[in-house]
Symmetry: C2
Subunit: 188 residues, 2 copies
């Protein structure tokens, strides 16, 4: 049975364990096994707690056939760094890469929420430090978006940002359905 | 000769091409070949420009033996998402993973620059949305920091943030020296 690594900043939510259970239950309904990261099963007061979490998560990724990454923006215009690392790791391992973002806004719009964006003398968008703002009409950095296109399926986004961006699992479930289709060979 | 993929938000700098040349020259002085991403060699007005950049960068990573990632915080408390993706990809491919950050501050301090951080009822640090703020005394998300510890070498940081955080290459050169040592078997 196909195992799916469930990556996302969900582990930082106050109800992190409960949302992990909900995600695993959705996977089970689609005939898949959801593997939820160990951040919450480790004694955070123990010495080397962060290393224990890393090793547990890496072993879980190695055991999984696919990743479903929650790329909803986290403390800035881009996805959570830990989740992005894990997406890259799974792509590097040749695993099926699926992801969703509960914020459908394109990257330029996300940056504008927190930073001034202007045009450079050569006509491209820059932030106040003069660094280019990627303007390809994609929701996040091109490396993440196109790895999904080539090594999985297009980023799943809702038409509109849901009311509860951290608990709405509609787009997550769409990813699970995609993974289930791949697992049973209904599409490729 | 060892090939090093030079990942970082450097590609977004106004003088992106020049800093790529400087990084490649430092690699050459240490007997290594630096491969700098293609973002600036692609016609940005062309259709599918972002996909062309992705494919070029992925092929370059596949050709490289190691990565040196610039994990200096980028539009928020964490590193640039594209760079983090690439670090994960190279770790997944089993390549040597090295990185530096020109900002030595720990993650909690970085978050506090832009967000209110308080204590939850259970005593751990949370942001205004109630999401946990990682508090392991590490500079960034534990997945990135510990992949370096286990698949390369500890994150290189300066004692103090350099005046020009985007152009100071002291910590970058320390990573190149580490890569050169590994390449010639002087250490492991």
């Amino acid at each position: 049975m196909t195992k799916i690594y469930l990556a996302g900043p969900d582990v930082f939510l106050p109800d992190a364990i409960e949302i992990g259970r909900r995600k695993a239950a959705i996977c089970a309904r689609h005939g898949l096994i959801g593997l939820y990261p160990l951040d919450n099963a480790v004694d955070l007061a123990a010495a080397h707690a962060s290393l224990a979490i890393f090793k547990g998560n890496e072993a879980m990724m190695d055991a999984a056939d696919a990743i479903i990454a929650n790329l909803t923006p986290f403390r800035g215009p881009s996805a959570d760094a830990g989740t992005v690392y894990e997406l890259g790791y799974m792509a590097g391992r040749g695993k099926l890469c699926l992801a969703y973002s509960n914020d459908p806004a394109v990257y330029v719009e996300r940056v504008k929420r927190n930073y001034d964006v202007t045009k450079s003398a050569t006509g491209h968008l820059i932030d106040r430090d003069g660094l280019t703002v990627e303007d390809f009409g994609l929701p996040d950095n091109l490396m993440m978006i196109h790895t999904l296109d080539l090594h999985g399926a297009r980023l799943v986004t809702p038409r509109q940002r849901p009311q509860d961006i951290w608990h709405d699992l509609t787009s997550f479930e769409a990813c699970v359905a995609l993974a289930a289709d791949r697992a049973t060979g209904k599409s490729d």
